[in-house]
């Protein structure tokens, strides 16, 4: 089970959002699972094609997401996925 941590910015829109574990093999799977738990969350992170929004950043452990288009980066059982707003934009 990968662990997911979020920027506190998102708690404003999803008050129940908290660090959690997901059973997912990729970042894409994790976002889909998170959207089931926190309805509507995916639309905050990705556009209607599923690509990561321009000013959103996801890290897997210490590495920034490589595949921003389809979020295919793998997650392992010991991975930690971080969801942040980028320092650009805003």
């Amino acid at each position: 089970m990968a662990r997911v941590r979020f920027t506190p910015h998102l708690v404003r829109f999803f008050p129940d959002l908290c660090e959690c574990e997901v059973d997912a093999a990729s970042v894409r799977d994790a976002v889909q699972e998170l959207d089931r738990r926190f309805r509507g969350l995916a639309a905050y992170l990705v556009d209607e094609r599923g690509a990561l929004r321009k000013h959103v950043v996801i890290f897997v452990d210490e590495r920034a997401l490589i595949d921003r288009e389809t979020l295919a980066d793998p997650l392992g059982p010991a991975s930690t996925m971080y969801v942040f707003q980028a320092l650009s934009g805003g």
């Binding site: 998102l10 639309a43 905050y44 209607e48 929004r53």
Partner: protein, 370 residues
């Protein structure tokens, strides 16, 4: 009564002011910290709508049924899978690169006709008009306009990176008759509820183009119709001010060649008198500041034959305010405007005199009475 509530869509949230006696009071701040591209009340049911432009999290649509106390997020419209736009500026004889269409901006909300409960429209970038027939529970792209053969070859960005629909005019006599204005493509009309669309730009010119009188590719900034005489339309355009006397079939240029009533973004028309309109002049497209470095409103009462500059109450010192296309509104004899410098002014006498509501607000994107 309409005109006693003022909605300001700003870079830092939605500010809701209420009229108290002879002044205004800030009643509520909603969506604090979030840019609000546009906010308005649907007069058919009192619902308040806000188009949010989150810097990080995308475009969101929000609605309140209790005058802004609580809000619900609605699913933002989605461009259908496979939708494409052309990138860059159109060059005759060349094909522009294409890229997927994704929602960039919710630019304007417009309720449908009185006989169409539940119908609302959204004008968006990159060029999609969306319609809902269930009061926002779901939206669909208006294919008749999206599939217009001119879109991929002649529409381009202007005020924004991609084509954007910023003005939607529903004919009060016939709700199936709708006009939209697109930056940069021009005015389009449907008479069958959105199934088929036709450009209506005869007489306007795009002066920076080698073909200034192109049927599609005109740079309209704002389109309004007189509610009491909907065939009288007005547009503030990149290259001047035009009016139409025949429902947009033909356009007549009525701006002052040397200004001040020439370049700008918003335009408002009187609710009963189709000869009376207001604009907020800027210098030029190269120098986007208040005309003559003095905030000025120009009013015509003779269908654009003459324009009167109105400055009573505005600062008698250099000002650089720009008023965006949705940041001027009218309710009876009352007007209000807001600028990107954070100044908001109002008038109770049709613009003859103005008073400041505040000089300390965030950049203002939209001003709408409710």
């Amino acid at each position: 009564m309409r005109g006693d509530t003022l909605l300001l869509g700003t870079r830092k949230g939605l500010l809701i002011y209420e009229r108290k006696g002879s002044d205004w009071r800030l009643a509520r701040v909603a969506h604090s910290g979030t840019p609000v591209a546009y906010a308005a009340v649907d007069p058919r049911n009192g619902a308040m709508w806000a188009c949010l432009d989150h810097g990080h999290w995308g475009q969101k649509l929000s609605r309140s049924r209790d005058r802004g106390a609580t809000w619900e997020e609605l699913a933002a419209p989605r461009y259908p899978d496979g939708s494409e736009i052309s990138d860059g500026f159109p060059v005759p004889g060349t094909e522009r690169p294409r890229k997927p269409a994704t929602l960039r901006y919710l630019w304007v909300f417009q309720e449908g006709g009185r006989d169409e409960p539940g119908r609302v429209y959204l004008g968006t970038e990159p060029g999609g008009l969306f319609v809902s027939n269930d009061d926002g529970a779901s939206f669909e792209l208006v294919r008749g306009l999206w599939d217009h053969p001119s879109r991929l070859v002649a529409w381009s960005g202007g005020g924004r990176d991609h084509p954007g629909i910023h003005s939607i005019v529903v004919d009060p006599r016939d709700s199936r008759h709708v006009l939209v204005a697109i930056s940069s493509a021009g005015v389009f009309e449907t008479r069958d509820g959105g199934a088929t669309w036709h450009p209506r730009n005869l007489g306007t010119t795009v002066d920076y183009s080698p073909t200034p009188d192109v049927e599609v590719g005109q740079d309209v900034h704002c389109l309004v119709a007189c509610p009491a005489a909907p065939d009288r339309l007005w547009q503030q355009n990149h290259f001047g001010i035009w009016r139409s006397d025949d429902g947009a079939a033909n356009w007549i240029k009525v701006s002052q060649p040397e200004g001040p009533a020439r370049f700008g973004f918003p335009i408002a028309v009187d609710e009963r008198d189709p000869r009376t309109a207001w604009v907020v002049p800027a210098k030029s497209d190269q120098d986007r500041a208040a005309f003559g470095e003095r905030l000025t409103v120009c009013r015509t009462t003779d269908a654009g034959a003459t324009w009167t500059p109105l400055r009573a109450g505005f600062p008698d010192e250099p000002t650089f305010d720009i008023v965006y296309r949705h940041a001027l509104d009218l309710a009876g004899s009352r007007l209000a405007l807001g600028s990107t410098t954070g100044n908001v002014y109002w008038s109770d006498d049709r613009g003859d005199s103005w008073r400041a509501l505040s000089h300390h607000l965030p950049p203002v994107y939209s001003v709408r009475f409710a």
